[in-house]
């Protein structure tokens, strides 16, 4: 809890920065780090609320709306569909790193609001998609549904492990995408973030993209070349979460307006066949 004697926030010392361009770059990358950590935090909160006896519906709705808001913004940024992390060790070259995307698998129309999300629960390394809806949290008989979190659909998973030499290449974002219906490419250049290579310590929960993939096909191949089902488990995520607050100025995030990049067309995110299956099964269970 936020008890007495907490340390002063990072932003207290922010005023001394004089180099504006440095500030700009730092702010931008910081912003997207903060945004990501806020997203992580929110999803954890939603997950945890499943475990409670009867979660507070108002709180769940507010958290879910926050997640949705971040998702929308990240979609516009072009960063949503590539929430990936490398799972392999630091010795491997970037091209071998797996793009492990567990993102929105449902194809949707252009400009349709990405209204669906879900919470993924992790048990050890097992990938499991948990649909956060009433059937999960209560036994619903006809209409008497308990409150609980909202229903959602797809979500994402990412790993908070620290990566060495991670670089985020906005162009490579495009290339790695898998279009299943739409081949429009994101205008990644108008994303809020700039291209500052991150040090290991700074990266927590951002994207990992392979560099230099020429086209969608090869990206597809590479995508499925190393199927890695070892997602980080909840513990890691929580640990990562706890360390997050030390990482950067939360106040910075608060004071920044969400990026209002020019409307860009979002391509359908990548999918994985087994996740699609799981999707399908969950759909049947949920009955949606």
């Amino acid at each position: 809890m936020f008890s007495k004697g907490t340390k002063r926030k990072f932003s207290d010392g922010d005023e001394e920065i004089s180099d504006e361009s440095l500030v700009g770059a730092r702010v931008a990358s910081s912003y997207s780090l903060q945004r990501q950590s806020l997203l992580d935090m929110s999803l954890i909160k939603l997950q945890l609320c499943h475990m409670l006896v009867e979660p507070n519906l108002c709180r769940s709705v507010l958290i879910a709306n926050t997640v949705r808001q971040i998702q929308e913004e990240m979609t516009h940024d072009g960063s949503w569909h590539m929430v990936t992390e490398a799972f392999c060790g630091p010795g491997q070259s970037p091209s071998e790193r797996l793009v492990a995307t567990e993102v929105l698998c449902r194809s949707r129309e252009q400009d349709a609001e990405p209204k669906l999300f879900s919470v993924i629960s992790y048990e050890g390394c097992r990938e499991e998609e948990v649909v956060a809806d009433e059937t999960l949290c209560s036994v619903s008989v006809s209409d008497t549904v308990s409150n609980v979190c909202l229903a959602g659909r797809v979500g994402q998973c990412w790993e908070k492990s620290e990566l060495s030499g991670v670089e985020r290449d906005e162009e490579a974002l495009e290339d790695s995408r898998l279009g299943s219906g739409e081949d429009e490419e994101i205008d990644t250049e108008d994303g809020a973030s700039t291209e500052s290579p991150k040090t290991t310590g700074q990266v927590f929960g951002t994207f990992e993209i392979k560099n230099g993939s020429p086209g969608p096909d090869s990206a597809l191949e590479e995508l499925f070349s190393d199927v890695d089902t070892s997602y980080y488990d909840l513990d890691t995520m929580l640990t990562g979460m706890q360390s997050a607050p030390k990482m950067g100025p939360y106040d910075l995030l608060d004071s920044l307006a969400p990026s209002h990049s020019s409307p860009s067309i979002v391509s359908t995110p990548t999918c994985r066949s087994d996740l699609n299956e799981l999707d399908h099964i969950m759909e049947i269970i949920v009955g949606s």
Binding site: F2, M41, E54, L57, S146
Partner: protein, 457 residues
Amino acid sequence: SALLVYKGLNCCESVYSPSSQEHILRQESGLQICMSRSDIISTVEFNHSGELLATGDKGGRVVIFQQETENKSQPQCRSEYNVYSTFQSHEPEFDYLKSLEIEEKINKIRWLPQKNAAQFLLSTNDKTIKLWKISERDKRPEGYNLKEEDGRYRDAATITTLRVPVFRPMDLMVEASPRRVFVNGHTYHINSISVNSDNETYLSADDLRINLWHLEITDRSFNVVDIKPANMEELTEVITAAEFHPHQCNTFVYSSSKGTIRLCDMRASALCDKHSKLFEEPEDPSNRSFFSEIISSISDVKFSHNGRYMMTRDYLSVKIWDLNMENRPVETYQVHEYLRSKLCSLYENDCIFDKFECCWNGNDSVVMTGSYNNFFRMLDRSQRRDVTLEASRESCKARQVLKPRRVCAGGKRKKDEISVDSLDFNKKILHTAWHPQENIIAVATTNNLYIFQEKVN
């Protein structure tokens, strides 16, 4: 002026007694009242005369205090509030169908206007509303013909004369008995109840629905508002509070998690899904953040006593609305603006979801609401002044005048100021109440109830 000068009246504090291993409630006047457990106070409400003050707690108990004035002829004389009645209103339940526990925590208490010698109040937990009758007994019949004093029947052979019982005085006994139990009206958690000015009906609101009840009828209620979407996946907004207009029995308002208030007229249609008025302030784009929606969520809505205004409380501010103007409030008061830069941390520790209540004073000139670190705020509308006070043992014990507090938002901290980072976010004042006629206020910290009275020179 009088607003700024409040002194401790008496406080009832929760003290752990190692010998009995119980938490007992102790009043500073020295009188010890033992209770089985003293729990987190979850609601505070004066009755219509202000003579009685009811508190509900997390353990499902209701404790009622009664005002006793030293000298009734002198209005500003010191009053004391002493325990009048204690009863267990709600018990924990288990919903077997959903495998969920139903908390016994009292979410709200609302008094009915007094019609006869007895007092009536409605108390509610998440699912069930109960009407309680609190009555005094100060006489008892003595001298039964067929029974002994202890209740045993007399030997019929010994009865030779007819004896009619007579009422004789006895020690005052206050009894609370449940008169109505309104069950199965709500699927979601009840957050508000409000008695109608017609004194016959009342409303109860949960996250998605508002029901209208008749006080005499427990097996039926009428649903007047339903915002549940057909597909729960599309749910983005919930009801957070609701209240009837103090004079117009056809009008009520309800607030939402998106910072809107809807006024409904029950004459317009049976189902009030369509509002008559929608009160919403446009968002300030310069203050926009990912937390904008959360902090705009309204935690409490209260009509003024005169019925012309309503007050809403969101996370950082209190707003006064004129019922005739929907597009923006007429007054906005910052409660603890210094928290705006801390929203992310407050989101992380869930404090951002704390539901603060607010209240009007008797003549609607001052409003009051709680904050963190056991601070509470009084905002004088007429004089455009505000003060931050602290509910603490020190202020109550010595019958001291409450000292105004200041929070230092940044920069150099002056003497007597407390910095934002030193605030204790576990010490929150969510529930406050103001005597309807006098300047007596009740402030609930986590376990303790503080009662302050205005000090008049």
